[in-house]
Symmetry: C2
Subunit: 260 residues, 2 copies
């Protein structure tokens, strides 16, 4: 199984602290050493860094830990291969353009007998069940909404149902973002925390590192971090229920009645 | 105007030497300081690094110069903004998936009154004429070839004509690759060299650096480098004619009679 990390904020924030702990699991404190990747939205643009080397020894991961790229939406993934070889085209996150926006997707889990008919609009480049699911989700959204880009609420309602269908094929913990919202679905394991004023001093669980967020934030900042296993020992992480679908916008969890 | 750099080889080769000279033009020996980017194919996968900082001072460019990523097809670009703001979504190269392959595109030049009708299959995320041209090329190829991926020769014949049409709107020096071939069109300025046995000692023109390629290659290696302005002072660069379209496969220029 793989691990996922997502961040959604109301102001561009760097993910160096959280990524440092997370990357440690890519071959050191945990066994997810079959490649890794991270995507950052910056405005409408996106940067994707992927590497088939273990995150713990990748020169690209080293750069991410030292170069504080500020972003409002980030998705990262460390891989332990279950389906598909260890190579670059099978590293998450995956990126496609739809409605003139980049969409970024990562998945943790394993899908059995999941072979949806793909009409060619979005096709996998690699051989993972994950990329197939991503292409299927985008194709389904295009079929549902046509040429008119849907609102965040429309996407949320649609994805919630689609994720439930896909999860019937196995484990489908996933993160998807278009740079505005971060959509998440949990089959088995996902946790989140919203960091906001008063900001705590946080201790990483995977290595000895602590940061006083109050020194690097302003009182109005709001940062949601979503991850497979909690990253810190002294923050209050909320566990997703099985089958739960959550939408994060500007560092907040949107309740279903806010899905507009 | 921007500058382009491409590489196409018969064996995975690192571009550190050529990129080092090229990146120097991103703010030091030349004025192309409005962002830069580089895409590497590795197998079917692709890595894209983009940054809105000048290449000469970008930590990401620093990584590329130190981390020898080996690739058979590379496209790089340093930008001097003519159309579109300086931000990440306007940095070349651009990437899209088509027929389950990644396609990478970069453009140097300026197109006037170029507003093709885009049907929504491929839409620009940023605001450059370049990304619009890229989306138009992919859409046109999909319309021409349908669901069946075309051969390199079919793409070459089709693109040659389309590039001629687009170039009627201004300057269209471009590079496009699907990881198998590197397609290039020259309106005003493009040069290439094929490095092969016996390999020379090459001197960079932009900074004091020389490399003896015979020490880092095998006798069967063949590496085509295509660039706006020659990168070395002691190699024999061939200048493209205005309106010339060339296809590179495995380090060779394919003559039109070889376009199959």
């Amino acid at each position: 199984m793989c691990q996922l990390l997502g961040m959604n904020c109301n102001t561009p924030t760097d993910i160096v602290f959280s990524f440092t702990g997370f990357a440690t699991r890519g071959g050191l404190t945990d066994e997810h050493k079959d490649g890794w990747g991270i995507a950052f939205f910056e405005g409408r643009g996106a940067r994707l860094f992927v590497d088939h080397l273990p995150a713990v020894s990748s020169p690209v991961a080293e750069l991410i830990k030292r170069y504080p790229i500020k972003s409002e939406n980030v998705i990262a993934h460390i891989r332990k291969a279950t389906q598909g070889e260890v190579n670059l085209e099978n590293c998450h996150p995956f990126v496609r353009e739809c409605w003139g926006q980049y969409w970024v997707f990562a998945h943790n889990g394993d899908l059995k007998e999941f072979n949806p008919v793909l009409n060619g609009q979005f096709l996998p480049v690699g051989s993972t069940d994950s990329e197939r699911a991503f292409c299927y989700l985008l194709q389904s959204m295009r079929a549902e909404f046509g040429d008119q880009p849907p609102t965040t609420g429309q996407v949320a309602r649609f994805l919630q149902e689609k994720c439930r269908d896909i999860a019937a094929h196995g484990t489908f913990n996933m993160m998807l973002s278009n740079g505005e919202a971060l959509f998440t679905h949990c089959s088995t394991k996902l946790h989140y925390v919203v960091r906001q004023h008063p900001f705590p001093v946080a201790n990483l669980s995977d290595q000895e590192l602590r940061v006083d967020f109050s020194e690097v934030t302003t009182p109005s900042d709001k940062v949601a971090v979503i991850v497979t296993e909690p990253l810190t020992t002294n923050e209050c992480w909320t566990q997703f229920g099985s089958g739960e679908f959550k939408v994060f916008v500007k560092g907040d969890v949107l309740m279903p009645e806010q899905w507009q």
